[in-house]
């Protein structure tokens, strides 16, 4: 019964999406107040129906209802309850339901927090979200129904992919989806503005907090995915340039560019077309990511079994959504005014360079990700593109961007004073140079890359701190939340760069054969294997290693890496044991048993400052959230007012 209710709610949600997508849009064109007023209740009902449908699916999982095909494929009675819940989005159908639930959630959020916006604008924004929802729900209902019955019911479920049986599954996909589906709001604002023909600073102001909020979730989602891969896959890496990672990274890059260009459009009324295009691009890349993951056109660790008819459907959806918005753009954009003029040295120029670099970065990731597909489609053979390409292309684009982070916020709008900026950056410059020379020495070995990384990190961090200090001197109490948010996020980047640089330059890796009593030393630490025993888990058996971690003869800790054999699959899973610390992680993972004497292959890593990578991401996200709560976004905007272009920060 529950699955039928869920299915029924899903169909009703489709109907409300039709109402939300079509009527307010027509109403806004013809000025019919009642049709316009339909947008909010429709969006809220839509969300409630999908939430109910989602709850029904979750209930089917928790109750082990194996007469639902999707549950039978992705769950098992032995699976712990928390994973039975998270398994809702462990497969194709459920993750799409989560996707559309998030979409409707963003829509509902817009509907309740947009009291200060003109009704016509809200109607159009919600209608665009409704139209996207129609497409996704049609996709779910016609090709990927999570409630399809399996009759007769399976006696036991096939179990969730063991790789997914991890706390990471509980948090990572919802955060990630929250982020990249969230760009739908920026997209909807941009399309609504194009439809109305009124692309002005007010539009940019309204979409800024939504864009930043989505960006924050995406940042956290990506960081969690990276952390999950780090501890779960047992290779000790934190980023693999896997197509699915790239699928989430491209919208992030475009979204980062969008956040910055929205600032110009809001403050100076410039780059309106460009900003609109970026808003369309950010969400388009999210949709493209969904396509790449769900159609199986690329090989990836995430690409599970896929069905070509689904690929065709989602490609058509992609074509309709993106194609129509770009057509609208080509039609409307030529009539948009250019906005305020600015000098060569100005904040506008800095942000423009920021945008160009970020878009080039996103483009190079897109090219690298799709290159195997393009070459195959042209009949030129099969190949794969790996980290060497991405590192070669990506790093040179990022270096000038990182250099600019320190400079940009110092520049004034319209016309900046170079000499004044140079004076305020002097001390940062000296500190950065010193850091580039000294820090790598302290770590034991000077290399150009680590020097560059340390230099950039200190350059950003110190100039951020100095700018805050300057502000405090002139009375920091009245600094808006977005000021703090920006600097916190920029500081987060410095922390991130330190992590990436030091772990890349100074990590140590040992692949060794170990027997009980053997000692391996790495990064000045010693690890002694005390023994390997077997232990049962709820739905697996594990070989558990016991390692004693010590430094200079002092025992610090015992580590317990595991090798798990899940009953449902023969693929063994690695659970690394990590002793995390502020300045280093010690990472141990069990390889394979090597012989009858109880020897195992063991991988041990010394990872200096690796946690700074994720800490940096969290700081960026925290900075973003601070910016979102800035008071000025919640001020009532008069319906007719378009904010004058002379507003300064």
């Amino acid at each position: 019964m529950t699955p039928e209710l869920g299915h029924f709610a899903l169909i009703l949600a489709f109907v409300t999406a039709l109402m939300q997508g079509v009527l307010p849009l027509i109403g806004a064109q013809r000025r019919r107040t009642q049709w316009i007023a339909l947008a909010r209740p429709a969006a809220q009902t839509h969300f409630l129906l999908l939430a109910f449908s989602f709850a029904c699916l979750a209930q089917s999982f928790l109750a082990n209802d194996f007469s639902v095909a999707y549950v039978a494929q992705n769950s098992n009675t032995q699976l712990p309850a928390i994973y039975r819940f998270a398994a809702v989005w462990g497969g194709h159908e459920g993750s799409l339901l989560l996707w559309v639930l998030m979409l409707s959630g963003w829509g509902a959020a817009v509907s309740v927090t947009s009291r200060q916006l003109p009704e016509v604008m809200v109607a159009r924004v919600l209608a665009v979200l409704g139209l996207v929802s129609i497409g996704m729900l049609a996709f779910i209902l016609f090709t990927s129904n999570p409630f399809a019955r399996l009759l007769p019911a399976a006696a036991e479920g096939r179990d969730l992919n063991p790789l997914l049986q991890d706390p990471g599954l509980v948090f990572h996909p919802p955060m990630l989806y929250m982020g990249y589906v969230g760009f739908s709001v920026a997209f909807a604002f941009a399309v609504a503005a194009l439809i109305s023909g009124r692309l002005d600073a007010a539009w940019a102001r309204w979409s800024r907090p939504w864009t930043t909020a989505a960006w924050c979730f995406l940042t956290i989602g990506i960081a969690m995915g990276s952390w999950w891969a780090y501890y779960e896959l047992g290779w000790g890496g934190w980023w693999f340039w896997d197509p699915v990672e790239n699928a989430s990274f491209m919208p992030w890059l475009a979204g980062t560019a969008l956040i910055h260009s929205l600032a110009i459009t809001e403050k100076r009324g410039a780059f309106k077309n460009w900003t609109v295009l970026l808003a369309i691009a950010a969400f388009s890349l999210s949709l493209l990511g969904t396509f790449l993951v769900r159609s199986g056109v690329l090989t990836s660790v995430h690409a599970f079994a896929s069905d070509p008819s689904r690929g065709v459907f989602i490609l058509i959806l992609l074509g309709v959504v993106i194609g129509s918005s770009l057509t609208l753009f080509a039609w409307r954009a030529p009539r948009v005014s250019a906005g305020g003029a600015f000098a060569l040295v100005s904040r506008e120029t800095m942000l423009l360079i920021n945008n160009v670099l970020l878009v080039v970065a996103a483009g190079s990731v897109l090219l690298g990700t799709l290159y195997p597909l393009i070459i195959d489609a042209l009949g030129l053979g099969k190949l794969s593109v790996g980290p060497p390409y991405f590192n070669t292309v990506f790093v040179p684009v990022m270096v000038p961007l990182l250099l600019l982070i320190a400079v940009g916020p110092l520049a004034r709008w319209k016309h900046a004073d170079l000499r004044d900026m140079a004076r305020r950056l002097r001390l940062s410059f000296v500190l950065a140079l010193l850091a580039g020379i000294i820090l790598p020495q302290l770590m034991g070995r000077w290399t150009p890359m680590t020097a560059l990384g340390c230099l950039l990190a200190v350059w950003i961090a110190s100039s951020t701190v100095f700018q805050i200090a300057e502000r405090l001197k002139i009375g920091g109490g009245n600094a808006p939340a977005s000021f703090w948010g920006m600097h916190l996020a920029h500081f987060g980047i410095a922390v991130f760069v330190i992590g990436v640089t030091l772990v890349g330059g100074y990590q140590e890796e040992k692949d060794v054969r170990m027997q009980t009593g053997d000692v391996v030393s790495v990064g000045g630490y010693q690890l002694r294997l005390l023994g390997i025993s077997t232990a049962p888990g709820p739905n697996y058996r594990a070989s558990v290693g016991e390692f004693e971690l010590s430094k200079n003869g002092r025992v610090l800790k015992t580590l317990h890496p595991e090798k798990r054999q899940y009953f449902s699959s023969q693929m063994p899973m690695t659970e690394a044991a990590i002793d995390a610390g502020l300045t280093r992680d010690i990472y141990v993972s069990l390889g394979e048993p090597l012989d009858q004497q109880g020897a195992w292959s063991v991988r041990v890593y010394f990872k200096p400052f690796v946690d700074w990578i994720w800490a940096g991401c969290l700081l960026m996200a925290a900075g973003g959230f601070l910016a979102v709560i800035d008071r000025r976004y919640r001020l009532r905007v008069k319906a007719a007012a378009s904010v004058p272009a002379s507003v300064t920060a």
């Binding site: 388009s284 199986g296 056109v297 090989t299 070509p308 194609g323 770009l326 099969k382 023969q570």
Partner: protein, 174 residues
């Protein structure tokens, strides 16, 4: 204004590539072993560990080497196709049970039917490495001289069997 149409045009090209991409299988990677002699091996048989099977035993016959395992989900999908095909007896199918437990493998065949002339057990996956196995199931078509003529990655479907494998087998058997 033409420049505002550029994003749309770029997107159209992208969709074109994605559409072609959908018709391709990214897992279908050409094997460098095609046209080369099949790597020699001698392995115990699944149903009689006392007996061994070696690739050289098949000299003079066209045969299929099908790599499978009881833990492999896609093999379950392919299995009925193989069982049905084996009934025609057109060509011997030798199974290579890859990184599997003998008891599990036997039970699997008992339950789902055994299409194999015989199955060799590659418990530690060493032979799989020689053959460049990177995903299970995989199927090799080997000719009378012991040369690998084709590699099929992923589950065999009735379509790939009738359109790709059988015509080749018929040609080689002549």
């Amino acid at each position: 204004m033409k420049r505002f149409l550029l994003p749309l045009a770029a997107f159209a090209v992208l969709v074109g590539f994605l559409a072609i991409g959908l018709t391709r299988d990214p897992r279908d990677v050409p094997s460098p072993l095609v046209g080369k002699p099949a790597p020699a091996f001698t392995l115990p048989q699944l149903h009689d560990a006392g007996k061994s099977f070696s690739a050289a035993d098949m000299k003079g016959r066209v045969w299929l080497l099908n790599v499978w395992a009881s833990w492999c989900v896609s093999c379950r999908e392919e299995h009925p196709v193989l069982v049905e095909f084996a009934k025609t007896g057109q060509v011997p199918i030798i199974g290579l049970d890859y990184k599997d437990k003998v008891a599990d493998a036997r039970q699997w065949l008992d339950k789902l039917g055994n299409p194999y002339t015989l199955t060799a057990v590659d418990a530690d996956g060493r032979v799989g490495i020689d053959y460049g196995v990177y995903g299970v199931p995989e199927t090799y078509v080997i000719d009378k001289q012991g040369i690998i003529r084709m590699k099929h990655t992923g589950p065999i479907t009735p379509e790939s069997l009738n359109k790709k494998i059988l015509p080749l087998v018929a040609e080689l058997s002549r």
